[in-house]
């Protein structure tokens, strides 16, 4: 099973990548744990996670091929 993770805005600066593939994560909590381990700087940012273009406020099961986007607030105007 493979999940695509997209990084937007300042989060792409932290990861250094626009997107990564993550194998074998069954739900969004596990994925979040994996991402914080791989990119500890994500702890210094507040961000939201969207699964297949829907923001997901609570833990949610992931399926093979799901696309998860990481979105951060920024204030520039």
């Amino acid at each position: 099973m493979q999940i695509t993770v997209l990084f937007f805005g300042p989060l792409a600066e932290i990861s250094g990548l626009d997107q990564i593939q993550v194998p074998d994560v069954s739900d969004t909590s596990t994925l979040t744990g994996y991402l914080l381990g791989a990119y500890p700087l994500l702890k210094s940012q507040s961000w939201k996670l969207a699964v297949n273009k829907e923001l997901c406020p609570a833990n949610r099961d992931l399926q093979d091929g799901d696309i998860v986007a990481l979105l951060a607030p920024f204030a520039g105007g």
Partner: protein, 352 residues
């Protein structure tokens, strides 16, 4: 509408989705634009051109030369002058039929409700989280829709909050961004133009009641990739029931403890008990260090056993930016005596 107005708006009124009826709605509409900067400029000029009858321009800033690359209502002659006044004058010259209200002041928890209540719709083109939450809260209390936009480098986010019972800014982002966003970040000059035009479009759709509005949707535009992604999000009931403006926890004020190069040198001289840690990456460390401990930032959490809690811990990187984030990471692990070396190893080597 008089003859001049009919002629001016002809290309809009022949659209079946707008018509004379829609144009009359524009004329009667009262829109407040908070922030007359990168986003505010395009929003204001398109709304005034389209015939929005009453426009409020709110900004307490002065025109700076570094604004001119993207804030296209201003020119060299405006440098040092009030943005709100310059913008208002320019907008009046663009369309004499519009009423322009100039608010050369900062939006505060004290004045927000009084100012916003005179308008039907609020545009948030501000540049800081404090104002964004303030605009949100005041608009929820007064039940007014907010057209929202924000920009970062080559990217923009656009949404419509608090529209017909839809979600609010707090439903999307309950917490503000990090301290890093208080710092100046680069932005391609045309980006706020693109994002501002999308915002102005949402305003005109809301007023005329045409099309689909970005209610419960966050549109993310990436100028480098030419991509538009739209994400849906839901309302959280308590955010819609706000009765007063919530206090803002300004993360920029939560200062990261920093130590200057001179202070560090004095500590070395006095042989004070400190732990200096180089948190850069391997190739940077290999090119020379001043620390006795090397823990790359991404491995900090795996190496907490090597970081003492009983003596001051000073973290350094190359220029003093990453070490600020690293201090925050350790603070979250309960470290209370941890400092970032200001200007990093470069600053330290400079004073030697």
């Amino acid at each position: 509408m008089n003859i001049q107005e009919q002629e001016r708006y002809k290309r809009q009124t022949i659209l079946p989705q707008i018509g004379t009826e829609g144009q009359m709605k524009f004329k009667q509409a009262r829109v407040l634009v908070v922030g007359a900067g990168g986003l505010g400029c395009p929003v204001l000029q398109y709304l005034v051109a389209a015939g929005v009858g009453t426009l409020g321009v709110m900004d307490f800033d002065k025109v700076d030369r570094s604004n001119l690359q993207r804030q296209i209502l201003y020119g060299e002659a405006d440098l040092g002058k009030s943005k709100a006044e310059c913008a208002a004058a320019r907008l009046k010259s663009m369309n004499p039929h519009a009423h322009i209200h100039c608010h050369d002041q900062e939006l505060t928890a004290g004045n927000a409700l009084d100012i916003l209540k005179a308008y039907d719709l609020i545009v948030d083109g501000s540049d800081n989280f404090r104002t964004r939450y303030l605009v949100n809260d005041a608009s929820v209390i007064l039940v007014k829709p907010v057209v929202f936009g924000s920009i970062f480098q080559f990217e923009g986010q656009i949404s419509v909050f608090n529209y017909k019972g839809g979600p609010t800014y707090r439903c999307l982002y309950p917490e503000s961004g990090d301290a890093g966003s208080c710092m100046e970040s680069g932005v391609l000059g045309v980006l706020p133009g693109t994002v501002g035009c999308l915002m102005a479009t949402e305003v005109l759709k809301i007023i005329s009641g045409s099309g689909e509005v970005l209610r419960g949707k966050l549109l993310v535009y990436d100028a480098l990739k030419n991509s538009f992604n739209s994400f849906s999000f839901n309302a959280v009931a308590k955010n819609l029931e706000l009765k007063s403006i919530l206090p803002f926890q300004d993360e920029c004020v939560l200062e990261i403890p920093e130590i200057s190069a001179e202070e560090l040198r004095d500590k070395f001289k006095s042989q004070a008990a400190i732990q200096l840690i180089d948190i850069r990456e391997e190739p940077e460390y290999a090119s020379g260090t001043i620390a006795d401990t090397f823990i790359p930032m991404r491995t900090l959490l795996d190496n907490l056993n090597r970081i003492p809690r009983d003596i001051p811990v000073i973290l350094h990187c190359q220029k003093g930016s990453r070490s600020r984030s690293a201090v925050k990471i350790l603070q979250e692990q309960g470290y209370r005596n941890v400092w970032s070396l200001k200007k990093g190893i470069e600053g330290y080597l400079n004073i030697l």
